[in-house]
Amino acid sequence: MYRYDEFDHAFVKERVAQFRDQTNRRVAGELTEDEFRPLRLMNGLYLQLHAYMLRIAVPYGTLSSKQMRQLAMIGDKWDRSYGHFTTRQNLQFNWPKLEDTPDILQALADVEMHAIQTSGNCIRNVTADHWAGVAADELEDPRPWAELLRQWSSLHPEFCFLPRKFKIAVTAAAADRAAVAFHDIGLKIIKNDKGEVGFQVLVGGGMGRTPMIAKVCREWLPKGELLGYIEAVMRVYNLYGRRDNKYKARIKILLHEEGDETFRKMVDEEYQKIKAAGGSVSHLVPEAEIARIETYFAPPKYDLLPDTDPQLAQHLKANAKMARWYEVNCATHKQQGYSIVNISLKPEGGIPGDATSEQMRAVADIADTFSLSEIRVSHAQNLVLPYVRKQDVVAVYHALEKAGLASANLGLVTDIIACPGLDYCALATARSIPIAQEISKRFEAPARQQEIGDLAIKISGCINACGHHHAGNIGILGLDKQGKEFYQITLGGSADETASIGQIVGPGFSAEEVPAAIEKIVDTYIGLRNKGETFLGTYRRLGPAPFKEAVYAQAAE
């Protein structure tokens, strides 16, 4: 993974000093809250329902054991010993004090981390496929480009006061695990007809009040042209994005209102000007720089191992529970003899995405011993150990079990994505976590989960959709109806390469009614599915009618 050089170290140190000064000026009254707010947001510090909240960047979801341990320490020292992994691969602490935040940022800088631009109307954390570098199906590791974009976007002088937030994701596999179609800019590393590797640039995806799927803005872009082209997109957005209405300020609205063709033309015209102004090469990514970054993402020195490990096979035969976990949570690795081990942070009935400092340390220790000290965070609020040898899987399983981190439910009905919701968030209209907990408990039986198969349930506590409910196979949106929490269910969303936005199934439900409604939906699927067909497949084949009927039929009974 990327390692800071002297420049990077100095940069984050300067950010800490800058924020410490700004905080001191705020406390002394030299800055008003209106003046200070954008400055603290640029360092990821929100004011939420109960306290401040600090959102720490985990660039493209990659963490070292050392960094994970530091996060655990920060949780113990300055917070309540737990953190929440988010749908943008970041980590949130819910109880920091303003006066402690400069020290927290210093503790982060000490391990090459920061909270820069995790909030505010600027370019946010660049996310990537959480199996980058190890996925069997990827073209190449997308993370060097995510790292390049991270550096390029950090304190970019022109693009820090945009109409609204801006989110970029990168993927390099046909199977899209980074939800690029739902980002302001989605980058797909692909080969053109000549077999050259470059970027397909998607623009204008997003969730929120008006979910939209990104459109192709550039079919294929040579790698070296990435920054110049993105600069063109950002300039068009900065100049022409709406600033009159917070809910119409994302680039997706600009694209929609201008039309795809016109927008593409605006970007191309701007890009031509950038190329002309800079001479023939200055807009290009310096090859030396990308080569430098790429060295950090070179594959590790893998052991040469056979495809199957006989000891593992034996253990799987003898231990049905572990076999189930292996089947569900462990994915095919690019390198023979290795496995991608996924850690579910969705214990049945638990709080999705939360981990205690103790659990973080356990994961760090396991990663040190069994995963070359590297961990990933997925946008589904789970963790990944990317470099586990098959011969170590048994030991890893037992260690995870000990830490309460061995739920065998990756991608299943109880692997629910939920935002913090009204339990934590000042923007929320309803609670999301208790809904997730109730659904999870209802479906917790392993046999039931196995029967249902892959099912992505995603819950948002308000229209801002941080729980990505629009992209849920089953989505749940928490609203307020005459002072009571009220939930709208959507069906048929998907965040992968077949991206789709869920459709509302009908009138909403009270909190108490939601689990039963979900159960009716699931039972309908099971009753109507073809062999081997997922929930999403059945829904797309049959449409909403049978589900609507099942959910609302009891009114007629």
Binding site: Q48, H50, R80, E99, P434, Q437, G483
Partner: protein
């Protein structure tokens, strides 16, 4: 709820330094407990209370003061909106955290269960 009661309000904010939820008391001080909050009825006294809150915000003691509606429940003020009620408790999914936990440990000095 058949009876129409006069609108009762309290002023709440977050402390600048640590972000914790507080309520303005009769003495224009700040308490973490809603039971200590000054309760106003009627528009004039509400505006006056808001004014005091804004002074405290300008003095950099608190951030974002605002009025919330409360009902009298067993002699104690209870926020009418669920959002504001959660703010007086803590996360409902972690009853070991926030004011609800401090109350359970006797922190509010008021004793007794709080609904």
């Amino acid at each position: 709820m058949a009876e129409k009661r006069p609108l009762r309000q309290v002023l709440t904010a977050n402390l600048l330094k640590d972000g914790l939820v507080v309520f303005m008391t009769d003495g224009a001080a700040w308490s973490p407990w809603i039971e200590d909050a000054a309760i106003v009825t009627g528009k004039d006294s509400a505006l006056e209370l808001e004014g005091k809150g804004n002074i405290a915000a300008k003095a950099n003691v608190v951030v974002g003061p605002y009025l919330i509606d409360v009902l009298d429940v067993n002699g104690r003020p209870r926020a009418t909106l669920i959002r504001e009620h959660i703010r007086t408790l803590g996360p409902t999914v972690r009853t070991d955290l926030g004011k609800q936990a401090e109350r359970a440990a006797g922190g509010s000095g008021q004793g007794g269960a709080f609904i």
